[in-house]
């Protein structure tokens, strides 16, 4: 099992620099060494690739930079592989052929910062097709309020392949909750290929945080990245800044964070199970599952003051405490909730057609899952034993003992069952943590955040590992990068939807529990109109 020394050696033997601080290993190497080192880390050491961050550091040191973020889940290490790039023509070798999971984030760095990647095809992923060339929003000279002149007189061809039928799914569909667009190419009832175009709702969150928010305000912005998993985003951000600045957060605050994170996981999983049943036509399961979920919403409101967008996180601690009365209320409510949930799930899974349609559909093989870097229940259903609460313990998870459910079938049923088991585990974690809740303050005494520090944190969201990267600046982050888990899971849909029946497409798409709010931070449009055959790792 590789440890700090092995990773440090990767930089040392190529004349690079390194710093190992806490659980993070920072490596700074020459751009030409990026690809071989990334290859070794991903394929030989088996670390997970999380995301890459492009930063405009020209005001600081007259360079651009690209940082690839890995986590070694077995040794609990974060690895930040950084390289400085030429300020006038920032270029770096692409690692997408050896690390297929890096495909989208490289395109995003190209769109937002103009960092060119060699050895791959570059195309618009995040920006709309009508965005002018050469204008890169995350560069420091681009003011967050500016609006470039555009002309919108273009239409896009659909149904690009003539020999198969096209069924468009989205972006505005009465049944879709968020705008996403899947173009399914069908032959009869079988899906032959899939084209995904997402990012219809770009909100420029990273630019906002760099331009007009201070450290404490970004917590609230982060919470609104997603309407289902907002709290884990704000926790991840707070933990990243606290890690960068070395803030000593009181234990009680970490416990409260973990408890609320698990309450969020409960509500999210119950939501997905309800939606899955609805997509299978079993509306009774949907209604009853959400009836059970309502209990978690009331619980969250009692604990935090709001049913969603809890708003209790600050850098340095939390804003609301859990007193004895609340503690006993939570425990009694959880007992009833588990019984109710168990009953509804058993009835729902026994309904005719529910089991039959979930089993054996939307299969994601283990090797594809690993190469694409899928996260969370999608990975665990395909046999990858990965959970950041256990591998990279944060907040108070090291004080709780819990099972991580892993299934090997990789079909829709496995993904549903992983989530069902996680609900039971979450309830157990909440009970354990409430029992062990230590006394003390809930907010750090003094929160001082010096500039120029890097903090990387992974939090296991209900959908998988969410990673926030913060480079501290003056009163506000200099660079903030968020990569939500659905961002990593969507590319896997191409594998899952292939050769499936058309009727199974909605439930397969829903089984990754897509949170397009988390993913959509850019718009993608194609210019050329060629649809490529599926190759895991090739760009869409």
């Amino acid at each position: 099992m590789p440890g700090v020394e092995e990773y440090v050696r990767l930089a040392q033997e190529r004349g690079g620099k390194w710093v190992a601080h806490g659980d993070t290993v920072h490596l700074v190497v020459d751009p030409s060494d990026l690809r071989p080192i990334a290859d070794k880390i991903f394929n030989e050491y088996g670390a997970s690739f999380r995301t890459c961050v492009g930063t405009d550091e020209r005001p600081l040191n007259n360079h651009f930079s690209i940082t690839h973020l890995f986590t070694d889940d077995r040794s609990g290490l974060y690895i930040a592989l950084k390289s400085y790039l030429d300020p006038d023509n920032p270029t770096a070798p692409s690692i997408a052929d050896v690390v297929p999971a890096a495909d989208w984030c490289e395109l995003e760095a190209w769109d937002m910062l103009g960092i060119r990647f060699e050895g791959r095809r570059l195309e618009r992923l995040v920006l709309p097709y009508w965005w002018p060339e050469g204008v890169h929003p995350l560069r420091k000279e681009f003011d967050y309020k500016s609006r470039p002149d555009v002309s919108l007189a273009r239409s896009e061809r659909v149904a690009l392949r003539k020999e198969v039928g096209t069924v468009p799914l989205g972006p505005y569909h009465p049944a879709l909750h968020e705008p996403e667009y899947f173009e399914l190419y069908v032959k009869g009832e079988r899906v032959v290929d899939v084209r995904y175009r997402g990012f219809h709702v770009h909100r420029g969150i990273e630019k906002l945080a760099e331009s007009r928010m201070n450290y404490q305000q970004v917590n609230f912005l982060a919470e609104r990245i997603c309407g289902i998993c907002g709290f884990e985003h704000s926790t991840c951000y707070a933990l990243a800044v606290e890690k960068a600045a070395g803030v000593d957060v009181p234990e009680r605050a970490q416990f409260i964070r973990s408890i609320v994170l698990e309450v969020e996981r409960l509500h999210s999983h119950l939501l997905l199970l309800g939606v899955a049943f609805h997509l299978l036509g079993y509306d009774a399961g949907f209604m009853h599952m959400w009836r059970v979920r309502e209990r978690t919403m009331v619980l969250a409101e009692m604990l935090t003051g709001s049913r969603k967008t809890y708003g209790i996180n600050l850098v340095g601690g939390v804003r609301r405490d859990i007193n004895e009365e609340k503690k006993s209320k939570v425990l009694s409510e959880l007992g009833g909730l588990v019984k109710d949930f168990k009953r509804v799930v058993e009835i729902a899974v026994s309904a005719p057609n529910v089991k039959r349609r979930l089993t054996g559909t939307g299969i994601l093989p283990k090797e594809d899952a690993r190469r694409l870097g899928v996260e969370g229940p999608v990975a665990r259903a395909s046999g990858i034993d990965k959970d950041a609460r256990r591998d990279l313990p944060y907040a108070a998870y090291k004080y709780a003992s819990f099972r991580v459910p892993v299934y090997t079938e990789g079909d829709n049923m496995a993904r549903v069952l992983v989530r069902v088991e996680e609900v039971f585990e979450s309830v157990s974690i909440i009970e354990q943590l409430l029992d062990k809740l230590p006394k003390g303050p809930i907010m750090a005494e003094k929160v001082e955040i010096p500039p120029g520090r890097v903090g990387v944190q992974v939090v296991e969201a209900p959908r998988g590992g969410d990673i926030h990267y913060v480079l501290t600046g003056d009163g506000r982050p200099y660079r903030w990068r968020v990569r939500a888990p659905t961002y990593a899971n969507i590319p896997a849909l191409k594998v899952m939807l292939r050769d499936q029946r058309l009727a199974d497409a909605p439930i397969t798409i829903a089984s990754i529990d897509p949170c397009f709010s988390c993913t959509d931070r850019v718009v993608v449009v194609r210019d050329d109109g060629v649809v490529e055959r599926l190759e895991v790792g090739a760009s869409w």
């Binding site: 009853h288 604990l303 058993e346």
Partner: protein, 169 residues
Amino acid sequence: MRVLKPVELIVVASEKGRVTVKYPYQEPLVTSDFRGAIRIDASKCIGCGACVKACPPNALELLESPDRLVIRYFVGRCIFCWRCVDVCPVKAVVGTREFELATDRVEDLFNYTVHRRAECRECGSGFATRRMVEYVTEKSAVSEYYANECPECRKAKVLKAAARRRGGV
């Protein structure tokens, strides 16, 4: 019999009854911990602007003019985070449980707290607010010596005193 398991749903439904809350004909399902809109108690507010600084979506804004200072609260932008409640030094900002705020006139959503400016005893121009000067002098009696001067005059005074000390008159 396993095949009859789905029918158990009817048993569950009859046990739970109808869970729909007949809002607005019934009380809404809001706990006592709910965070709703805020209210600024104008009698306590000193116009320091701490709430404005802390507000993430800029629902609270400071509008300044030579003779008055206004704190404007726009409910339409408020995210009910209550950071303003946290940071107010005089506890003038109070959180309520109100969320039924819809109206068809947008003016109803603006709330203004207007402060009179303190007058500089040297140049007569307005600065800070009267309440803030009172608050500061109450907290620290010695500040009375300079709290009634505007920042510009204070700066000028300090520079003059420094120049005098350096051997010029």
